[in-house]
């Protein structure tokens, strides 16, 4: 993607928040946060060749790590800083044993981790239990309490940081090592790549991105419960990554935008008078499913390369 496109997209998205009505502003913020998590998923799947079906657990860890201290009076900015750290620490602890697994084993292991986390959270009274954590204070930065537009810009910054980090990681020496390991682990290891360490590093990085997005999410919504982070959410992130195009920088943003806007549109359609009350959920499940299947089978490199947004940096080349 050339500088002009990036500049144009940045300018438009920066100009947008004050113009949006409140309902669409919420979609905008959640879209940016989803894109941030998807950047991590895409790094993991596209460059390291690992499927995680539990990415929402790091989103949840970040959200709770930010919200819990804030509820007890710790400055909110400190809580937000804690979010990616907590998610990263969890990723190191979990990744050390789990990343010995590959392919479907890892997919199920990450799914299992998320189910365990949800179940533990639902029983943890100190974290609000199944009812959830209410009254999370709003984010305050240098004495100014953020309003909705402020969250849009915070989320924008978070996504921009994630994209920048992802780009630099991909172009760096460890990034090349990772791509080599994803193509052939044996060959990479034989060439002196510390496969395990690199894999753990990218797992941790993707978790930190999810955690930071989760922190913003917690302050934006002001309410958290285990039900906010269902297994389906993890699957959504995978869908966004695959639809956008694995192993591209623009892919996560394209994927998240397409999916969120489409689901939002169908939601609007589904809640029209005369539609049955199950219409919105049926339509969104169908969208995830059909887009995922069609993309995987017929557009394996995703929408972003198909749109020619970026021609270089093909991990399979």
């Amino acid at each position: 993607m050339n500088r002009w496109t990036i500049g144009a997209v940045a300018a438009v998205t920066l100009a947008l928040p004050p113009l949006l009505p409140e309902r669409h502003l919420a979609t905008f913020v959640l879209l940016l946060l989803a894109a941030t998590v998807t950047v991590g998923v895409s790094l993991l799947m596209g460059y390291a060749g690992q499927v995680s079906l539990g990415q929402a657990s790091f989103y949840a860890i970040g959200a709770y790590a930010a919200a819990l201290p804030a509820v007890h009076g710790v400055p909110t900015l400190l809580g937000l800083a804690l979010a990616p750290v907590a998610a990263a620490v969890a990723a190191v602890l979990l990744g050390a044993p789990l990343l010995r697994l590959r392919g479907h084993h890892l997919a199920f292991a990450t799914l299992a981790v998320q189910l365990i986390l949800l179940s533990l959270l639902a029983q943890a009274d100190w974290a609000g239990g199944a009812i959830g954590l209410q009254g999370v204070p709003r984010l305050t930065i240098v004495g100014v309490e953020l309003r909705d537009v402020g969250y849009a810009y915070t989320a924008w910054l978070v996504l921009a940081a994630a994209l920048l980090i992802a780009r630099n990681v991909v172009d760096s020496r460890p990034g090349r090592a990772l791509r080599a390991a994803a193509t052939s682990e044996t060959a990479a290891a034989a060439s002196g790549v510390a496969v395990g360490r690199h894999r753990l590093a990218v797992f941790t990085l993707s978790a930190a991105m999810a955690g930071l997005a989760g922190g913003v999410y917690a302050f934006y919504l002001g309410y958290l419960s285990p039900g906010s982070f269902p297994v389906l959410l993890s699957i959504e992130f995978v869908v966004m990554a695959v639809v956008g195009g694995l192993g591209t920088i623009a892919g996560p943003v394209v994927g998240a935008t397409v999916i969120v806007l489409l689901v939002q549109l169908l939601n609007t359609l589904g809640t029209l008078p005369g539609m049955p009350d199950y219409a919105p959920s049926v339509l969104s499940y169908a969208v995830y499913a059909v887009l995922l299947i069609v993309c995987v089978l017929y557009l394996p490199r995703g929408l972003a390369p198909a749109l020619r947004l970026r021609r270089t940096a093909d991990p399979n080349a």
């Binding site: 392919g103 995922l292 995987v296």
Partner: protein, 286 residues
């Protein structure tokens, strides 16, 4: 003591359900190398159809067969989409089946709504020793025992069964002797669908079913199947029963809230130990 016998029997009944889901996974995986994420969906679809057929007045037996038939049909459809296109790698197929699992949600909510459903099974209470157990658990066990015996006979003694076993042990050699590997893959998916459907139909009278109960089923089924490396039906049966018993015993002696964790931690441990013993799995997985 009578408590313990009760827990054991209900645990075996529940575990038999896991074993059926898991053996469906195994049937599909050993032939196609695909881990079928939609496996829990077959059980849910079959159970939901059975509840509709029963409330439409069909007798027991017919309604359940209808459910299992729908499971088999769903299996075939999933197979066609997941492996029908030549050159689809197992990794890609896994993502496709994940998508199909979500698609099943849309269909289930559209037709049956999102409320839990159940239907009556075998009524009455059986007395085993001095323990009293709902008779339906014994029915589950009996049916499962028959099904596994039939499977052993099918894989060892019939032509299609032996062709499936041949594909499982060496795809290339099977192709060389004239076995249509793709058709065998579809047969495996159909069989897997029927086994999943049977699990749903059998366990729904003792455990309600909702459109998203497939996650618990697939995770427990996978946990049972992973013990046998996703390729040995009999080990899967043992694994499922062990899992069921452990869960009910844990729940019975006060850890009710931690039932699922027991299965999950067991599964993770088994996978990690297996990976440590064999080293990284072959790279064809990608």
């Amino acid at each position: 003591m009578s408590d313990l016998i009760g827990y054991l029997l209900t645990g075996l009944g529940i575990g038999a359900g896991f074993a059926l889901v898991g053996s469906g996974l195994v049937a599909i995986h050993r032939v196609t190398r695909v881990v079928n994420f939609a496996q829990g969906g077959f059980a849910v679809l079959a159970a939901l159809l059975t509840s509709t057929l029963l409330s439409a007045g069909l007798p027991h037996g017919v309604a359940e067969s209808g459910g299992v038939a729908l499971g088999a049909l769903a299996g075939l459809v999933v197979g066609v989409i997941a492996i029908g296109r030549p050159g689809t790698s197992p990794g890609t197929s896994l993502i496709v089946t994940l998508g199909l699992g979500v698609l099943a949600y849309a269909i289930e909510v559209l037709i049956w709504g999102d409320q839990p459903r159940s239907f009556p099974g075998l009524t009455g209470v059986a007395e085993v020793g001095d323990a009293r157990v709902p008779a339906h658990y014994l029915l589950i066990l009996a049916v499962t025992a028959v099904v596994f015996a039939l499977m052993a006979w099918f894989f060892a003694r019939t032509d299609p069964g032996r062709a499936l076993t041949a594909c499982a042990s060496n795809r290339y050699a099977a192709q060389v002797v004239g076995i249509d590997v793709r058709r065998m893959g579809l047969l495996a998916f159909t069989l897997g669908g029927a086994l999943g459907g049977l699990a749903g139909v059998l366990t729904t009278p003792v455990q309600q079913v909702t459109f998203d109960s497939d996650v618990t089923l697939i995770v427990n089924g996978f946990a049972a199947a992973i013990l046998g490396g996703l390729s040995r039906p009999m080990v899967t049966l043992a694994g499922g029963l062990l899992l069921g018993v452990t869960q009910t015993v844990v729940a019975g002696y006060g850890g009710g809230a931690y039932q699922l964790e027991v299965a999950l931690v067991l599964m993770l441990t088994v996978m990690i130990v297996q990976a440590a013993r064999t080293g990284p799995v072959p790279e064809a997985a990608r």
